[in-house]
């Protein structure tokens, strides 16, 4: 049987030749992403701004407009009605009612009653009610979690490699998170708690490739002490390219399946990680690696530390 080789043997791409072009593109993309996110804002779900989310399903297809006018006729403030999966299920989002929880309750009951009256057989699948206080806490703890995860990983990389690698990891993560944020701001996909889980996963997984490449650069730095840094990074990138492509493929296959036929409730999570993996693959080559050049990593960066690092490695026998 002939085995599939996505990256042909002896591939030798000059990645670093395009590093400045890539940098400019990445920089522009990052700035645009952050700017756009700041300008348009994210479509934050009830988890982060408070309010109510009611998911309802009907025995037959229902016209969006008809349902919308039904909900509007209750005068509950700015309500939004969106399809959720097919034309038979919808999610209705209601703003935080003034006057605390008791009021929120009667609102949900009102909506339920109205829908059940006009659409016999309709079923309330789920109701989420989040108060302003809880949503603020969720928002700040989520932001903190993402920040801590980025810092924690960068520190670990610094500890295991050298400071330049730690900085590279942090910049790569910042790029990946900014791009994914921009994607959510642009598509208006709702950002809920699951999406935050996706961000944290991206932080962990996008660095996967970076770590593998860094590990190879470190190895090659020790092996070829006379080689200039640019060809050396190119060599390391090419050596790990097959692995980068194959692993990204397996993760993308799994996530693609989840995105296409998995449960609707976690579509946001799946698409965020899918995208994060794509971005992470790119950034591990065009951000993580060139940063080392700019920060002046040289073959002797590891000379002084080489011995102790060796003994710190895990036993592999």
């Amino acid at each position: 049987m002939k085995l599939l080789k996505l990256v042909p043997e002896g591939t030798n791409l000059d990645f670093m030749r395009w590093r400045n072009v890539a940098l400019v593109i990445s920089l522009i993309a990052t700035v645009v992403s952050i700017g756009y996110t700041a300008y348009r804002g994210l479509n934050l779900g009830v988890d982060f701004v408070g309010g109510q989310l009611i998911r309802v399903s009907f025995p037959q297809a229902v016209d969006d407009e008809q349902l919308r006018s039904k909900v509007d006729s209750l005068h509950l403030g700015e309500a939004s009605v969106q399809r959720f999966g097919g034309p038979k299920s919808f999610q209705i989002r209601l703003p935080k009612p003034p006057g605390g929880d008791a009021a929120a309750n009667s609102v949900a009951t009102q909506v339920k009653a109205e829908i059940e009256k006009d659409f016999p057989g309709a079923k309330i699948e789920s109701v989420d009610t989040v108060s302003g206080k809880v949503s603020e806490e969720l928002a700040s703890s989520s932001a903190m979690a993402i920040g801590f995860a980025m810092l924690g990983i960068a520190l670990y990389i610094w500890f295991r490699f050298e400071w330049q690698f730690g900085v590279g990891a942090l910049l790569t993560l910042a790029h990946d998170v900014a791009m994914t944020l921009g994607f959510f701001a642009f598509t208006r996909l709702p950002v809920d708690l699951n999406v935050v889980a996706a961000f944290l996963t991206i932080v962990g997984y996008s660095l996967n490739d970076t770590v593998v490449i860094y590990d190879r650069i470190r190895e090659d730095l020790r092996k070829y002490r006379r080689m200039a840094i640019l060809p050396l990074i190119n060599l390391s990138l090419n050596e790990t390219l097959a692995r980068t492509v194959v692993t990204s493929m397996t993760v993308l296959i799994a996530l693609g399946v989840l995105m296409l036929i998995g449960p609707e409730v976690i579509f946001g999570l799946a698409i965020a990680i899918f995208l994060g993996v794509l971005i992470g693959t790119y950034s591990s080559i065009y951000i993580s690696a060139p940063v080392l050049v700019w920060l002046g990593v040289k073959p002797d960066s590891f000379l002084k530390a080489a011995d102790e690092k060796d003994s710190a490695q895990p036993e592999t026998a």
Partner: protein, 530 residues
């Protein structure tokens, strides 16, 4: 590489077999095979999270203003009782304004004695070195008692642990349902009830503080003054529960709800719902004595600061049981009976977060999740097979074993599988083979460099190990942070990722290494097709 001692083979096989065995009860849980699983095999099962099983999630927060008010009230009662003791100290102008209790000592010579007695009323707060109230003298005759932060924190903590138990007893009087009631942070209680997708019922049970008090009606009060909200000294104005005005009652509590040992919904002589209560022995004695001394007078039954009814005591009630009448429905009488039996809540709880999931949405998610998992495994397996041939087969066996191990370990720890957890599972499937990809690519590389076969395999495993280790630590960092900060479903996702990282290193590195070693030893291949 070839040295893979027999005991290691046995150990690895044993771990794998054990993991598979542990995972089976969870996999067959909702199939007809569930009954056929032999009783002597492990029975551990994975919990389904609320988002999969359906149910209600309520986050309750203690009303700290209410808590403070109650503490002040209790303190005022004990201060008044204390100062009435011999030698009596005359005080006046008692006030609880500004969250502090203050009063004037009429005789300036008694100030020191009063302060001393106040100090004795305060208690040390465990481990902090502070007392729960701060006693100060202002303007030489005014004594001010201020609650200390340490005291308030401790009081809240105590109240929350009582509240947790009360909430549990109210929702689950029989102690048979699989509900979760935990305290969160300093002043919150989290309630999760699977299977109940209408939380209104739960909220009715939790919403009532159920502070029941029996007090004598103050017959000397002027009805017009009561209407204006004024009561004679030693009495207070309490509104009627049905909204029909208010009455004046004596402040002193005759008997309170804490002394109830049993409460049951029943019907009165006219067939109206009421509640039958039985006092404990101390309560029965007090109730008997009070009713004996007050025959012919009305007494008020007060629930959460509202008068339910005020029947007249017709004869002494000595048996220790009584009926609470009021305008009840069968349901509200039943709910109150449950609440009384479970005890009163030490503090009012407000709902600040509420989620309910119907059973169908969860079932649909499980089905779609299971199908997606299957397809994802199949996709990855095929891809690995066409990419690495024999080594792909080994990676695939490891992948399947890994899936069983994750489920098995989750079952063993009785972990909760949530909807994002399913996503974590699928993600792990895609990422777990990364270790094998790293190893196999390295082997390919070493062969290209001209290494001999066994040497190449050995170097491949050894050199790849370092990157595998570092890459997995980054996952552990992000997943741990997620587990720490995340709530319910997100934590479920993190747990699956964490377990997946550990099991995938085991299956992708140690397990495949064993398979490769056994294969090489058995067939002594001359060439490696990779």
């Amino acid at each position: 590489m070839l040295e893979f001692p027999r005991w290691k083979v046995w150990l690895v096989s044993l771990v794998v077999a054990f993991g598979v065995l542990l995972s089976i009860p969870s996999l067959i849980a909702s199939t007809p095979f569930a009954n056929r699983w032999p009783a002597w095999l492990p029975q551990y099962k994975i919990n389904l999270g609320l988002d999969l099983a359906g149910g209600s999630h309520l986050l309750l927060e203690a009303d700290s203003a209410d808590m403070q008010k109650q503490r002040l009230q209790t303190m005022q009662d004990s201060v008044e009782t204390e100062l009435r003791h011999d030698p009596q100290i005359q005080v006046g102008d008692i006030s609880t304004a500004g969250g502090r209790l203050s009063f004037m000592v009429r005789d300036p010579r008694q100030v020191d004695a009063a302060v001393e007695r106040m100090r004795n009323l305060t208690k040390p707060v465990a481990l902090t070195g502070n007392r729960d109230w701060d006693v100060q003298v202002v303007d030489s005759t005014r004594i001010v008692l201020t609650p200390t932060p340490a005291g308030s924190t401790q009081a809240m903590k105590d109240a929350m642990s009582v509240a947790r138990d009360v909430v549990r007893r109210r929702i689950d009087p029989g102690g048979t349902r699989e509900i979760t009631v935990t305290t969160e942070g300093n002043n919150r209680v989290l309630v999760e009830v699977p299977g109940v997708d209408n939380p209104d019922e739960l909220k009715k049970l939790i919403g009532q503080t159920a502070r029941l008090e029996f007090k004598l009606v103050d017959l000397s009060a002027d009805p017009n003054a009561v209407k204006a909200g004024h009561a004679p000294p030693g009495s207070e104005v309490v509104p009627m529960a049905d909204g029909s005005g208010a009455i004046a009652v004596k402040r002193r509590v005759m008997v309170s709800g804490e002394q109830i040992s049993k409460a049951q919904q029943s019907f009165d002589d006219n067939g109206r719902p009421d509640i039958n209560i039985t006092f404990d022995s101390a309560g029965a004695r007090r109730f008997g004595r009070t009713t004996q001394e007050n025959v012919g007078k009305p007494f008020a039954i007060i629930l959460d600061g509202k008068v339910l009814s005020y029947p007249t005591i017709e004869s002494p009630i000595l048996g220790g049981s009584a009926q609470i009448t009021g305008s009840f429905t069968v349901q509200s009488a039943h709910d109150l009976a449950v609440s009384l039996q479970a005890g009163r809540l030490p503090v009012t709880l407000n709902v600040i977060e509420e989620r309910s999931i119907g059973p169908d949405l969860g079932k649909d998610s499980i089905n779609k999740g299971a199908i997606a998992s299957g397809v994802a495994v199949l996709g990855v397996v095929i891809f690995m097979l066409v990419t690495y041939g024999r080594f792909g087969v080994y990676a695939n066996i490891a992948l399947v074993v890994n899936a069983f191990l994750i489920l098995g370990i989750m079952a063993m720890f009785n972990a909760t599988l949530t909807l994002p957890g399913i996503a974590g599972f699928i993600l792990t499937i895609g990422a777990a083979v990364d270790a094998n990809v790293l190893i196999n690519e390295r082997i390919r590389e070493e062969i290209r460099r001209g290494r001999r076969m066994i040497d190449a395999v050995e170097t491949g495993y050894r050199e790849a190990m370092r990157a595998i280790y570092d890459a997995n630590v980054t996952h552990v960092i992000s997943a741990s942070i997620m587990a720490y900060f995340g709530s319910g479903p997100v934590r479920g996702f993190a747990v699956v990722l964490l377990i997946g990282v550990v099991t995938s290193v085991f299956t992708a590195v140690y397990f495949t290494r064993m398979l490769v070693a056994l294969w090489i030893r058995r067939t002594r291949p001359r060439m490696l097709h990779i």
